[in-house]
Amino acid sequence: MSTLTKQDTFQSLLDSASSSFASIRTQAKETYLTQGLPALKEEEYKFTSIAKKLESKIQGFKYALPFAVSKEDIQSALFEGFNGDVLVFTNGKYLPELSTSPEGITISSLSEVRNTPLGSIAKPEKDPFSALNLASFSDGIFVSVPKKQKIEKPILLLSFNQANSGQVIQPRVWIEVGDFSEVTFIDHSISTSEDSYFVNKVVEIKGGLNSHVNYYRLQNESKNAIEVSNIHTDIFQDSRFTSVNLSLSGDMVRNNLTLNLLGSNSEGNMYGVYLLNGKTHVDNHTNVDHTIPHAESNELYKGILADQSRGVFNGKIFVRQDAQKTNAFQQNNNILLSEDAIVNTKPQLEIWADDVKCSHGCTVGQLDEEALFYLKARGIDKNTATGLLLYAFAGEVLEKIEEESFRSYAISLIQERLGSKF
């Protein structure tokens, strides 16, 4: 049996890579070829054998080409009450003619902004998939918010994915937010086919001094989609970054979320819900790097797992020697609704400073029977009672979404799932 850990698996992608960012690509290719795909026993991918999954589902890797979507397709994908700008992508390609232009923001294809320091935040040596994307992405988007801009309307990154089995979509996003600016992004992908395509996404975000950036993400792709994402953020002094990641579907999903706190008094928040059924496998690997004193990070991930689904949470908090007075909190709670569902949860704290406040906790349990009985004893049927309790469990995370239309949409989607499925 061949194994996908060989470097030549994606050779055809590497060979046909675009000529933009040539030197960056060449280096990334070398990095990728040195690392190869993660082997089965590799610590970082121990519970998520993505290479094996790709091998079993995908033969011959080719780019998925962009395709046409109509204005109606876009309209019907918007959340009720959404009032913002929409950037449209098909198979990872940004389509300006179908997108709106947010006021005061520079947006273009990456290939048009050739001095963008791609790979300086999501460093290719940190993850082979990140390296692969950098070496072989076709094109991506460049978003720049100038200084002192409060962007009132949210920006929706709306991706339509429609690929055949074996095809690869490699979106790449670069976001830079100027000093004192505020902006909210919503990253939403929609599958328009049920095939086993592979998405390998990289997002790099740079938040300037005193900036506020929200990055909300909804993963609700086809049951057969395989996805790896690397979302890496650098934030500087007095700035705040908040990520809310909702994973509801997919075959195998791996999210690498990295937050580098590079300036004092910066605050990073990482929140997530994974609501899984069938055989969906979702792995959230988060990584917070406290490099300087007086910064804070908060992390809360909640999982609800039914059927034979599997959830993985790995939360790394790295507090460097200089990062005194760090506050870092992490919590991961899980409810298993079936005997066949599995959760692997692992806090990973490395603390080199001696004057810090760090805490972490993880729980894996079942639905609280006592609470369930209490609700039933008041006349509420079992399904509704279960839904109420599960929704209450996940609600703590959903409340963190400040943008109203997306929060309502996420809540109704999750309520619907809890009502119908569980």
């Binding site: 009985f373 209490y374 008041r378 079992k382």
Partner: protein, 254 residues
């Protein structure tokens, strides 16, 4: 209204109730007393449908229907209400949303229209006065961070909202100070009518000064060993349970 015949129940194979017989008619208040471990709370739990109790023998007829055949939610919809000894804290579920869901499911079962938000709030305000419960409490998650007294008051408030036919108060008095006890009892008394009945499960006679029973039953070792009027409760208050235990134990020894 309620007819319990030869009820036996056990937990994990250990028998707790060993043949309970009890008749409750509309308009009556029955007090179930007894020493710790006699099975008082088990009886309340079995009637409400708690799943960890296994009924091994006997039957319970409630308004002509087999109560034990019903799921807990259907018992509630039929009009049985259990005021919990230990009300559960449920973070993230708002008290209002919970009550509205419960009330509308009960109403649907009874063939009534669901209440819209306005009517629901009006009803809520009216019933809140009954147990002197603060609006602030109800804007919080269900029972979360409530004091013992607030939780018990919330139980009676829920009872007022759901308008049960048969209310079972499981040690509602335990842990209450005099003021809270008075408020809770007033609420219960105002909800009484000649169409409803109340079963008060308690360890102490004190509560019965406020909620005056028509009948008092003493439970010991899973059976009702003595029944009487409210004077029996006073006698128990004065003499404790030992004389009853002795009476029963010597009788069984013979």
């Amino acid at each position: 209204m309620l007819s319990i015949k030869n009820l036996h129940a056990s937990v994990e194979g250990t028998p707790i109730l060993r043949g309970i017989n009890l008749e409750v008619k509309a308009g009556e208040v029955h007090a179930i007393m007894g020493p710790n471990g006699s099975g008082k709370s088990t009886l309340a739990s079995v009637l409400a449908g708690r799943e960890e109790y296994e009924v091994t023998e006997g039957e319970v007829i409630f308004q002509g229907k087999e109560l034990l055949e019903m799921a807990p939610e259907d018992r509630a919809r039929e009009g049985v209400f259990l005021a919990f000894q230990y009300p559960v804290e449920i973070p993230g579920v708002s008290s209002t949303n919970f009550l509205r869901t419960a009330l509308n499911q009960v109403r649907e079962y009874r063939g009534q229209e669901p209440l819209d938000a306005v009517k629901f709030l009006t009803l809520m305000k009216e019933k809140m006065k009954l147990v002197e419960i603060d609006q602030k409490l109800l804007s919080r998650s269900l029972n979360e961070g409530f004091s013992g007294g607030e939780k018990k008051r919330n139980e009676i408030f829920q009872m007022a909202m759901l308008e049960p036919t048969l209310s079972i108060l499981d040690e509602t008095d335990s842990g209450l100070d005099i003021d809270a006890l008075r408020i809770v009892s007033n609420g219960v008394n105002k909800l009484k009518s000649d169409k409803t009945a109340t079963i008060v499960v308690t360890h102490y006679q004190r509560l019965l000064d406020y909620i005056v029973p028509d009948f008092v039953h003493v439970l010991y070792k899973g059976r009702i060993v003595k029944s009487g009027t409210k004077e029996l409760a006073l006698e128990l208050e004065e003499k404790g349970y030992d004389w009853i235990k002795e009476e029963v134990d010597s009788a069984t020894a013979v």
